[in-house]
Subunit: 313 residues, 2 copies
């Protein structure tokens, strides 16, 4: 059975679709800038649960995931569209008003205006398609495909918090660590950092961590025709995980495969590395020539890392 | 209970969203052109049924409805995005390949390239969000809001065929009138006509007939702050309906309230009317000063027409 990534690649190859496969499509806008368009589906019981998210949380997250895609290209978000397939059971109260309040609060912070979309009833689950349109200086969108052997690999912020929050929610431990739950329900897209990185002009490839560090690093490696070696000691595990989950191996697993932190993962040539000094990013490894091979290095031992993030199919 | 139109209007008013409410959002692109973006949700068992549509039909229709939105603004479609929430039961065979073949065949005809989207699994119904991005000469997008009292009201093609096809499918009469079924399953968006009308520069308002003539005319009236009077004898009923459904009143009802014909409904000042002579359009009535009132005129009698097209809520 094909994974969703294999299906997308097969369609892409068969019909020569050059723009499919990055975080956003990059399209010509005007003489100074390119257009970025991102679409993200959020499906009830796959991407969120009504039992543990209020409608404003879901509105926030719908926009956050798309803003994160714009951030991953180093762009500026401008406009949003929302397509909602709404079960009749959710139509009857102020669910949608609150959903939109959550969307709008984050939108305002980033200067994004709602310009369109669609609403349909459904006899199935609540489905949201969040579309964000942005722009980036001409020919300056940062893609997944530019990583070179020898480049250092960086991540912003800390990892594993959103997955830790999900684990708490799944086991109904909603009280102990609000920070982790906040990371899961109200992720903060790294739009400003993405723009700063783009302005530096030194980033060779970038992606946001939505599926998980291992999966998203594999996407960069596949697009760039390279491999990667990660130093396990360097992975910035969310410090709040340690207080809640005492097992360090479990926390590492959350940080490596958990996903949904919406931090930025990117590569920079070693000679440009000192330009990153003032930013909240850490180097976790190096790009290698071993196409599509991810290695993980710990105390003198190297072993292969299999992409273990979330897959739909 | 609010209808979906009331919800959209309430959000629009509360947050001063000027771009929401037309067939497409109109956004600045470059010095010569504006960007058009349309999003359309198609939900299994609401907008299509797997029992009577093959996957390529669904792919075709997904794109057709969005191309029709671009046509309604007088624009040129350029790029498409597809977001698909796919039940696991449809993932296992070549369903998606065939769906995409149907999309791609129509896309090629209109010079549209797939540039992005998203795929998610769902435990609910198959949901498609079809997004099309296009362009239109600067400040020349034709909106719903420009109709003036005295303008003539026109429709392209014929009406009621798609609704007749749906009725045949619902009652399992798939054989007798292929034309009607084709109208329902494989609608033809009026992109060329929309561009021709825009080039003439005389159209004061336009919409595509997706919800139904009465509903879509009501949208124009509400946006323009006017009313409309329709001559029932002038409504171009699909000639194939008469052969299948002998009751003329039933056919009129299908033509007035049926929807999904994806023909263009537009208004033109009487002094410009002769410029339409070479086009496949007919005048069906006149815009009036009676805000939000639709009247229908037959053999000397005038009565009020209530918008009777499809509503989700």
């Amino acid at each position: 059975m094909k994974s969703e990534f294999q299906f997308i690649n097969s369609i892409k190859d068969r019909f020569s679709l050059s723009e499919v496969g990055d975080d956003c499509a990059v399209l010509p806008k005007d003489k100074d800038s390119d257009l970025l368009i991102s679409a993200d589906l959020l499906v009830q019981d796959v991407d969120f649960r009504l039992e543990w998210s209020n409608p404003a949380d879901i509105g926030h997250k719908s926009l956050a995931v798309s803003l994160s895609d714009i951030a991953a290209m180093g762009g500026t978000p401008l406009w949003g569209l929302l397509s909602l397939a709404v079960p009749k059971s959710l139509w009857n109260d102020d669910f949608l008003d609150n959903f939109y309040e959550g969307w709008h609060f984050l939108a305002k912070k980033h200067g994004v205006e709602l310009v369109g979309g669609d609403i349909s009833s459904t006899t199935g689950k609540f489905v949201i398609d969040s579309i964000v349109v942005g722009e980036v200086p001409k020919d300056r969108a940062i893609r997944r495909s530019g990583a070179n052997p020898g480049d250092h690999i960086y991540v912003s912020g800390t990892l594993g918090g959103a997955a830790g929050g999900l684990r708490l929610l799944e086991t109904s431990q909603i009280h102990p660590k609000l920070h982790l739950i906040e990371k899961q329900l109200r992720p903060a897209p790294q739009v400003e950092l993405g723009k700063q990185l783009n302005a530096l002009g030194i980033v060779t490839s970038m992606i946001d961590i939505s599926d998980g560090l291992s999966s998203d690093l594999a996407h960069i490696c596949r697009s760039s025709g390279v491999g990667a070696s990660i130093n396990i000691e360097k992975i910035p595990i969310d410090p709040n995980l340690a207080e809640t989950f005492p097992d360090r191996d479990e926390n590492l697993e959350l940080a490596i495969n958990g996903g949904e932190d919406f931090e930025l993962l990117f590569t920079v040539s070693p000679e440009d590395a000192d330009q990153l000094r003032s930013l909240d990013v850490v180097s976790i490894g190096t790009i290698t020539e071993h196409t599509d091979i991810l290695e993980i290095f710990q105390k003198g031992n190297t072993k292969e890392l299999r992409p273990g993030g979330f897959r739909h199919f």
